[in-house]
């Protein structure tokens, strides 16, 4: 394993552990770490909303800009002051969420293949976010703004951009004019607009995007930041005076850390670092990584054009086109560049039912590396091999808890690319083929490597999403377990408890009639 892979795996392990620890109080859907992108967007909307109010009261005159912002904190603390503080703290939280999102996606290996576009479009957004953030601090025109403006222009002047040093604009108090703040406000509005446009591009090739976290998380986050704004309101430093170097300054390390870094090193070091990091982020997809898996394949003869794969694909890789052979019908079309090879489409296809009597089960959309027919063969062979008392079939996710160690004479384990590729009818097929119970393991709530596998599986098994598990299947014989890769022992315990429940609860009379696909007549 090379250094990069080792570093990535180590970081991923840390993230996984912390996310799983957070699952206890939050649950999967409310776990902020599992929805960092949505958290970032939500924080950005707080920044935009509070910023609109600040814009309405801002006086861009050189003498008035400082007072107009200070007035919010001192004379209108209950509204303007709170909104100003929210603007600052939500900006800081946005930076934090953005950087955590970046590191998390890298550690999970989400920067190449079908995720290449999202990765590449995400990198420039970091620059835009920092440009907007640093520019925002200048508008206050306090001593922190003075330090930031001077330091930023000195940093920019190291690059061969301007014919005259831009730092000359901040040489003396009389060097600044009213128009400076007018331009600054337009930049501070324009760059975030570009950021929002970039965010649209960043997510537009993903299906079922979480644009916002859950209502509970939004309320809790807004309440937390509001309380912070009330107890520790954001205040200006003393007004800017270009004739002196400011002394001790309350400093925003989330956004302005680059200035102390420049003072500590040099503009050459900082630019080298910034350009090298940006180049590295762009070049990451070129580093060695796991080879791409075969993408989903559509069989026109078996595709009914029902649209379910199109609706369920987490990456918007499937579109519907007119069926070439059946006028009036549609046909699923897979975009290989977007396909994640998760198999969720195969699980959504109504043609994937194992009850079809054909010797070879060809479905409408399938995964070449694990066709539904192979899945049926594996299940039938496992059912035929069963020996022992309580026979349990475990359909497990290859990305979640490793269930292979549970395989025994009375326990069959069938690994799936993602649990979302399991057609619910396989559960009924297993029960009618001789299994006493079926366990379906998926990743933890909100923790699916393919985003929606565990969600679609839950909804399909609960009858809330098509294709749904038939209501005739007794719930007592089905157990859905949400387990991460670290939950092996919890999975073993849960399967043992499930087996015990089946054995002790006296549910033998709820057995489904057996079904033998090859028999001419079946019960």
């Amino acid at each position: 394993m090379n250094f990069h892979a080792a570093l990535r795996n180590g970081t991923k392990s840390v993230f996984l552990r912390v996310e799983e620890a957070f699952d206890a109080p939050f649950g999967g859907q409310d776990n902020p770490l599992r929805h960092l992108g949505a958290m970032g967007l939500y924080l950005l909307w707080i920044v935009v909303g509070s910023g609109l109010y600040l814009y309405t009261v801002l006086d861009t005159g050189i003498d008035a800009v400082y007072d107009s912002i200070g007035m919010l904190s001192h004379e209108q603390w209950y509204l303007g002051g709170v909104l100003r503080s929210l603007h600052r703290y939500a900006s800081d939280a946005f930076m934090l969420a953005m950087m955590l999102h970046l590191v998390r996606e890298w550690s999970y290996g989400r920067y190449y293949g079908f995720r290449l576009y999202s990765w590449m479009t995400g990198v420039p957004l970091i620059w835009l976010a920092y440009i907007a953030g640093i520019g925002g601090y200048w508008i206050v025109w306090d001593q922190l703004a003075q330090v930031s403006a001077t330091a930023t222009t000195e940093l920019l002047d190291w690059l061969p951009i301007f014919s005259e040093p831009s730092a000359r604009n901040f040489m003396s108090p009389d060097a600044i004019s009213d128009r400076f703040f007018t331009v600054l406000v337009f930049i501070h509005l324009g760059v975030p607009l570009l950021l929002i446009l970039g965010l649209w591009a960043h997510v537009h090739r993903i299906g079922h995007v979480d644009y916002l976290p859950t209502r509970r998380v939004m309320l809790a986050t807004a309440a937390t930041l509001t309380l912070l704004a009330l107890f520790r309101p954001a205040l200006s430093n003393p007004p800017a005076n270009l004739a002196i170097v400011p002394g001790d300054l309350a400093f925003d390390w989330f956004i302005l850390f680059i200035h102390p870094l420049t003072d500590l090193t040099s503009p050459a070091v900082v630019w080298s670092l910034l350009f090298a990091l940006t180049a590295l982020l762009f070049a990451l997809p070129l580093l060695p990584h796991a080879s791409a898996q075969p993408v989903a394949v559509v069989d026109p003869a078996n595709c009914t054009g029902c649209d379910r794969c199109h609706a369920d694909c987490p990456y918007a890789a499937i579109s519907m086109a007119p069926h070439p052979g059946r006028p009036g019908f549609k046909l699923a079309v897979v975009d290989p560049d977007l396909c994640a090879s998760c198999g969720i489409c195969a699980g959504s296809c109504p043609s994937s039912t194992p009850f079809r009597r054909r010797e070879t089960l060809i479905t409408g959309i399938d995964m070449p590396q694990l066709p539904v027919d192979t899945l049926r063969q594996q299940l039938e062979q496992a059912l035929a091999r069963f020996a022992g008392g309580t026979r349990i079939v475990v359909f497990s996710c290859a990305r979640g808890a490793d269930a292979r160690g549970l395989a025994a004479a009375d326990t069959a384990v069938i690994d799936l690319i993602c649990t979302g590729m399991l057609p619910p009818s396989f559960v009924e097929y297993a029960l009618r083929g001789g299994a006493d119970g079926v366990v379906v393991t998926a990743c933890r709530d909100g923790g699916c490597d393919f985003r929606l596998g565990e969600r679609w599986t839950s909804e399909r098994l609960l009858g809330e999403r098509e294709p749904h598990l038939r209501h005739s299947v007794p719930p007592s014989r089905l157990q859905l377990l949400l387990c991460s890769a670290h939950d092996h022992s919890a999975l073993a315990t849960a399967v043992a408890e499930f087996r015990n429940r089946i054995e002790t609860l006296g549910v033998a009379n709820d057995r489904l009639p057996s079904y033998l696909r090859r028999a001419p007549n079946h019960a």
Binding site: A24, E164, T224, L242, W253
Partner: protein
Amino acid sequence: MLKPAAIVGQVILYGAFAAFIGYFATSPTYHQIADDVALIKLSISHLGDRECRQRTPEELAKMPPNMRAPKDCPRERSDIKLEVDLDGEPLVRTVMHPTGLYKDGVSTVYRRFEVKAGSHQLTVRMDDNLVKPGFDYVKNEQITLAPRQVMVIDFNPDRGGLFFK
């Protein structure tokens, strides 16, 4: 419905989040320079002189009447030589080159120096035409810098050349 333990856990974690954001949004404080130090900013932007040549009467006679300028001034500007001494010790020795593809733009310099607050002897010499010997502009002054004061060395021909502010 959330369990009480989950609510307590969430309150603790949201509180930790607020504390983290609230602390690093303002703390630790940043101190750019030491309290007993002042800043000298050397910032000059100036067009170097052009090395013009007097045209001979023969040359002028060959030119169209409306273009008979007595001097032939090339587009290029001269480099500018700059020296700064602080308390007799050399602080800067540099030659500023004109900007632009044809070297017809301004020559600029921007540097900042941290010096101990107090009284200093500051000497600046500038030569904007390197063909001619010697420095065209010289300013030598005793300066007193207060702690954290910013003093700028600039050049403006309308203000008599080099000046401190």
